[in-house]
Symmetry: C2
Subunit: 360 residues, 2 copies
């Protein structure tokens, strides 16, 4: 079979050019006679791969010098514990914003380690809109403010950056990092599981302002301590070398595409085409407020849910894969991360219009 159009929410599609390069050098990296997977992480070859990946990521995001870039394991879910263990002293309070399933998970885990104030919740809008900052009830002395910039299941995304003054802003960008330019200096910490816009699962990238390091609790496991990771160049122990390498190939690919300004243009075009198609029809619908619609994950429903099965079967036949919505919300969901091309979205839209004509 040829390659399909893959709308999977994660682990998600990767750029074909990246996979081809990884394939070509899988047994013999740069004539060294061995795979990247078989290299010592402390050898010249891998340390060069690792450093280049970090530099390319810094270039793409414009990461200031006073931020460390960490390559870790355990996904965003492990960060949900690491963040309070590193930044929240015993008895202190942190503010969290609830905009959906992922931010609620981060709140639940953080609540096991300290006082968590849910400063705002999208619940009052049935999770179809994001409360504006004028509605937030921030604490006076919060250790930090945490939010998720994009909710993959509800399809909700911030199109603005919260203002928290001197209180460090911590953001889960697992599902929209690298999709458009970013002002890193507005954050205390940015983190992202790799398996959407960065690379294969098993890697999580964190960008941490240096002055926030060194505050971990005594009870923080060594492997979960950001300062230990920073002091050891993310190699306190053996890192996930292949995921790191492949992410580096993705960073190179993003640079070749023209960087994040160029990606933002393409991503804008992709989501605009898809939402316009949905909005132009009574057959398809998306309930999210227009200023909170995700550019990365577009959930939509058919007017008649009895047609869902036929829609998905027809999509599969056309090589449009993984369009089934999350089990908690039903319907459809098209995840259109960086590696999903405009061409893929055009093929999806063509199929949606064809299906509507036949079945409406």
């Amino acid at each position: 079979m040829s390659r399909v159009y893959n709308f999977c929410a994660g682990p998600a599609a990767l750029p074909e050019a990246v996979l081809k390069q990884a394939q070509s050098e899988l047994l013999d990296w740069h004539g060294k006679g061995l795979s990247v997977m078989e290299m010592s992480h402390r050898g010249d070859e891998f340390t060069s791969i690792a450093a280049t990946a970090e530099q390319d990521l810094r270039d793409l995001l414009g990461v200031p010098d006073n931020y460390k870039v960490l390559f870790m394991q355990g996904g965003a879910s492990q960060q949900f514990a690491q963040i309070p263990l590193n930044f929240l002293a015993e008895g202190a309070t942190a503010d969290y914003i609830d905009t959906g399933i992922w931010s609620r998970k981060s709140i639940e885990e953080a609540s096991r380690f300290g006082n968590i104030n849910v400063a705002a919740s999208a619940k009052e809008y049935d999770y179809f809109a994001i409360p504006g900052q004028n509605e937030w009830q921030l604490s006076k002395d919060a250790a930090y403010v945490h939010y998720a910039s994009n909710e993959t299941i509800g399809g909700l995304q911030f199109d603005w950056t919260p203002q928290t003054g001197d209180t460090p802003l911590v953001v889960d960008m697992s599902s929209d990092i690298l999709s458009k330019p970013l002002q890193v200096c507005r954050y205390g910490m940015i983190y992202a599981g790799a398996q959407k816009n960065i690379g294969p699962s098993g890697l999580v990238v964190a960008i941490v302002r240096e002055d926030l390091l060194g505050r971990a609790r005594a009870s923080c496991p060594t492997m979960l301590n950001y300062k230990v990771a920073a002091d050891n160049g993310s190699m306190y122990n053996t890192p996930p070398t292949f995921s790191w390498y492949l992410s580096g190939l993705v960073f190179k690919w993003l640079k070749e595409q023209g960087g994040l300004e160029a990606m933002a243009k393409i991503n804008h075009a992709k989501q605009a085409l898809l939402y316009q198609t949905i909005d132009a029809s009574d057959f398809y619908s998306n309930p999210v407020a227009s200023n909170a619609r995700s550019w990365m994950n577009v959930p939509f429903r058919l007017a008649d849910a009895k047609l869902d099965k036929a829609f998905l079967a027809g999509a599969d036949e056309r090589g449009l894969l993984n369009l089934k919505g999350h089990r908690s919300v039903g319907g459809m969901r098209a995840s259109i991360y960086n590696a999903v091309s405009l061409e893929a979205v055009e093929a999806l839209v063509a199929y949606m219009q064809e299906f509507e004509k036949e079945r409406a």
Copy 2:
């Protein structure tokens, strides 16, 4: 360049047949039109890959039904914290055996979470021999006894299994799991970082007796709780899917080789040839007591350390790579895990004899 003989201590050599299969299906797994890296971990394809890998591992090791097999992240170093967080109640004591750098690291980390009794240490033998169990000072009510079956840096390996009665025995088998048959039922828990005998780095496998689950401290991060991992089939969050898949290919390859009985025969032959070469010469030496010599990591010294550089340069020229000893001990080290063939060891031995003839 053709493939080299790779004696790296880890991430270590992988079977060439495994890498070739991964390469052939890297962009299109089984005609599905996408890479394993691009699949939802909850989809039919990946859940089948995951289940097959687990079953093959169970078959190879003869894992009894009352043990869970967990696929996690963070390497053995994260386990050093997870083990006390899961098994050691506040105020309780655990026994640890010190046989080298890795077991000392596990002791250091565990000591941050409870009372650790170092029941025996190879220090009294300059780490060249393992204290017999008659020399161990086990606690009366230890929560568990922990040891490392193989020390990669010192080149020390247990050729026997400790007897701890009703006290669960916990073993770090990162560097010798799957190298020979094993009686899983003698252990409460076996764990191993993948990057020596299992697969790529970024994955750690744990085999845990079911009755030991559910004892985690309230302060244990959810992602570090073995019961959570077990209850969710190691998919509480997105697992490292590509590493899991590739490990599954390694398990299949081991079965094709004839399983662990067959691997034990080959591994016996490899280490015998290498140690015999060392012992037959005054030019090379290894200080470890014969019953504690590692089958996996063979450190050796040249009588004249000034020749080390020339030895390594000549080895590199012949495609015998990564023979430099760990910086803490110097000299040479040949790591001869499962994927390093007898042919590779024969090539090394031939070079050692040639070098000795020229330079002795």
